[in-house]
């Protein structure tokens, strides 16, 4: 009976294992897409077939298999290659991303005020 259950669990594990490996593969592909290939124009190391990209993909894969987290690998990449290696914007640039919306919001707000005043008059 115990042996039967053991086989059942084993079969289930074998059946669902590709799902886990697929998820892990997808996670690493998503990470490759955030790493800039420094010898190609605007391509990530996932898109590029240069030796630089190939080597970086292999090294990231090795570190990933050794159990390094994505954050740790990214920190190491930033330490080695500097900010230019990442496609993700710097934190101090976030202000620039939001400023156009602030301007737009201010213009809309001022116009609404004007509209309300006009209608009340």
């Amino acid at each position: 009976m115990i042996l039967k259950n053991f086989y059942k669990i084993l079969i289930i594990l074998l059946l669902i294992s590709p799902v886990f490996s697929y998820a892990q593969e997808q996670e690493i592909i998503d990470f490759y897409k955030t790493v800039r290939c420094l010898v190609c124009d605007g391509q990530s190391i996932y898109d590029s077939e240069t030796l630089f990209a190939q080597n970086l993909r292999e090294q990231i894969q090795i570190k990933y298999n050794l159990g390094f987290s994505k954050e740790n690998i990214q920190k190491e990449l930033l330490k080695i290659y500097g900010e230019k290696i990442s496609f993700e914007p710097k934190k101090n640039r976030i202000i620039l991303w939001f400023f156009p919306f602030v301007v737009l919001f201010t213009i809309i707000l001022l116009n609404i005020k004007r509209f309300i005043r006009r209608t009340s008059n």
């Binding site: 010898v39 080597n55 292999e58 101090n92 620039l96 201010t106 213009i107």
Partner: protein
């Protein structure tokens, strides 16, 4: 008055954005510098390709050069005479053979000469740790610290600066 508010406030906001953007760029410019990473310890632990010896500590006391090369790399062949010249002048060069075939490497050294004191085979680990962009790439080292790095083939001018 309302018109003034509608146009002037956004105008000042845009001015502020431009000011911030310019300042961010200024900071970036000052930050642009060549990345000098530390020399991976594995370089001193891996045995030499030809003599099977690890790098002598005596070599590390004087300035030396680390050169990434490969037998399949054209520009490496172009800079090869400069490296041979340096060897004649007594400059110690550690060659790091990047992702190459060992038989091709032997053939290449036989045909072109060997300017290297030590040759270390690298499958990409050392290259990754040193932040290699491509081959050839040369690092000038003093007291185990990289003080200059040249991406691409070497020229006589680069060597004059080093020596």
């Amino acid at each position: 008055m309302n018109k003034v508010k509608v146009f002037i406030i956004p105008f000042f906001l845009i001015l502020i954005i431009i000011f911030i953007a310019l300042n961010l760029n200024k900071n970036d410019k000052s930050k642009i510098k060549i990345q000098y990473n530390e020399i991976p310890i594995s370089i001193f632990e891996i045995p030499d390709f030809i003599n099977n010896k690890t790098i002598d500590t005596e070599l590390r006391k004087n300035p030396y050069i680390i050169n990434f090369f490969a037998s399949w790399c054209g520009p490496c062949l172009a800079e090869h005479p400069i490296l041979m010249n340096l060897k004649e002048k007594g400059v110690k060069i550690i060659g790091i053979n990047f992702r190459d075939d060992e038989n091709n490497l032997r053939e290449w050294l036989k045909n072109n000469g060997n300017p290297f004191e030590y040759i270390i085979i690298d499958n990409g680990d050392i290259a990754f740790e040193l932040g290699l962009i491509g081959v050839p790439e040369t690092y000038f080292i003093k007291k185990d610290k990289i003080f200059n790095k040249i991406q691409g083939p070497l020229f006589e001018d680069d060597i004059e600066k080093f020596l």
